[in-house]
């Protein structure tokens, strides 16, 4: 699928073909996409724990369930528990100097090994790494970027996916031996969509002019209608929901799975 169409087709899919497992190779593609995401300080922020529902015994699956996360876990054949590792600042000077050596961070932009050793690390990054709010902000932000790549990689491979609130982190930690330094971010549900991949149509979004600005924050971004038309043709902008049959689609899926209507 072309990039623009992947972005435009991504939806939160909540009805999965519970009977159809996700191929391991497709999960690997998602993980590699996450690993290739933009990341500051070239730090290894994200951690992911991949769990297949059908590999879990009943006791473990029951332990994962709670009143807000039960149907989701039944329907999705694969869960990815996303975390960031709070130890990500470790090794930062070495990683940055490696990038200097590889001509990624270059003198043209002010970078040198001396700057990393004498100023950046001791005076800025190390003190920042000792402020919990800063660690959490960076960890959440950078891991979110990685997860976004994984979401789009799933869509590109014909999978459905959805991010779910990270409920019961203590239970998950104990069940799967999650290290103490891992901070929970999202649970990503993965499977083949049981609903139409368009899931009733594209979600509402405000026009660019309400969100983005040009030159100063008093000047809204003015859309070029030609670009908008191009993006419609390319599939980034798609037909908005709800499709006429959406309510019936949800009703039928709910009945198939015995879910509340």
């Amino acid at each position: 699928m072309e990039f623009n169409r992947v972005v435009g087709t991504r939806r939160s899919i909540r009805f999965f073909k519970s009977w159809k497992p996700v191929e391991r190779e497709k999960i690997q593609v998602m993980l590699e996409a996450a690993n290739r995401a933009s990341r500051s300080m070239n730090a290894d922020y994200p951690r992911a724990l991949v769990v297949n529902r059908d590999d879990l015994d009943k006791k473990t699956l029951d332990a994962l369930r709670n009143p807000t996360t039960t149907a989701d876990l039944d329907l999705a054949p694969t869960y990815i528990f996303w975390y960031f590792d709070m130890n990500y600042p470790q090794g930062t000077p070495e990683r940055l100097k490696e990038l200097v050596e590889k001509h990624v961070l270059t003198p043209s932009h002010g970078w040198s090994k001396a700057y990393v050793d004498d100023f950046l690390w001791p005076q800025i990054l190390k003190p920042l790494s000792q402020i919990p709010e800063a660690v959490n902000f960076m960890g959440g932000t950078e891991t979110g970027i990685a997860i976004c790549n994984a979401l789009n990689a799933a869509v590109d491979q014909g999978l459905g996916t959805c991010l779910h609130a990270f409920t019961a982190p203590a239970v998950i930690k104990e069940l799967f031996n999650v290290p103490d330094s891992w901070y929970p971010v999202w649970i990503q549900l993965v499977g083949y969509p049981a609903e139409e991949p368009e899931a009733g149509g594209q979600r509402p979004r405000k026009p660019l002019s309400e969100l983005f600005f040009e030159g100063n924050c008093d000047t809204p971004w003015k859309e070029d209608p030609k670009v908008t038309e191009y993006l419609k043709k390319e599939g980034m902008i798609q037909e908005p929901g709800p499709f006429p049959y959406r309510a019936q689609e949800v009703r039928m899926l709910s009945r198939m799975f015995g879910l509340p209507e």
């Binding site: 039960t70 039944d74 015995g258 509340p260």
Partner: protein
């Protein structure tokens, strides 16, 4: 048993929100009997059942009570078992009761029937 359980605001809200108003008379009776029997087993009215899932915060706002919801979740499972139901039918029945909670603003999930 209630003369007209639809007089309870929570039941009326459920029927309107879930479009049960347009169901057949038989289906409406089945649903109303179900919620009535469940509530009777708890010795609560339908409105009291909803209230048991809510709490008042320090700021005076209404919030979902995790404890109350957990208790009702268990009560639903127990009631369905007491009706001699199992498998798909048990799941559907329990989720019908959850639908009553959901349409009254109580976020709750039960199992899906995937076997």
């Amino acid at each position: 048993m209630y003369d007209n359980i639809l007089e309870f605001p929570s039941v009326k809200k459920w029927f309107e929100s879930a479009n049960h108003d347009s169901d057949t008379q038989d289906e409406q009776k089945r649903l109303l009997d179900m919620i009535a029997n469940f509530c009777e087993s708890l010795d609560q009215t339908p409105d009291e059942l909803i209230e048991s899932c809510l709490r008042t915060t320090k700021d005076g706002d209404t919030a979902i009570s995790a404890k109350g919801r957990k208790n009702v979740q268990q009560a639903i499972d127990d009631w369905v078992t007491s009706q001699g139901l199992s498998g798909h039918q048990a799941i559907v029945t329990a989720n019908t009761l959850r639908s009553f909670l959901i349409h009254n603003g109580v976020f709750i999930q039960g199992p899906a029937s995937i076997q």
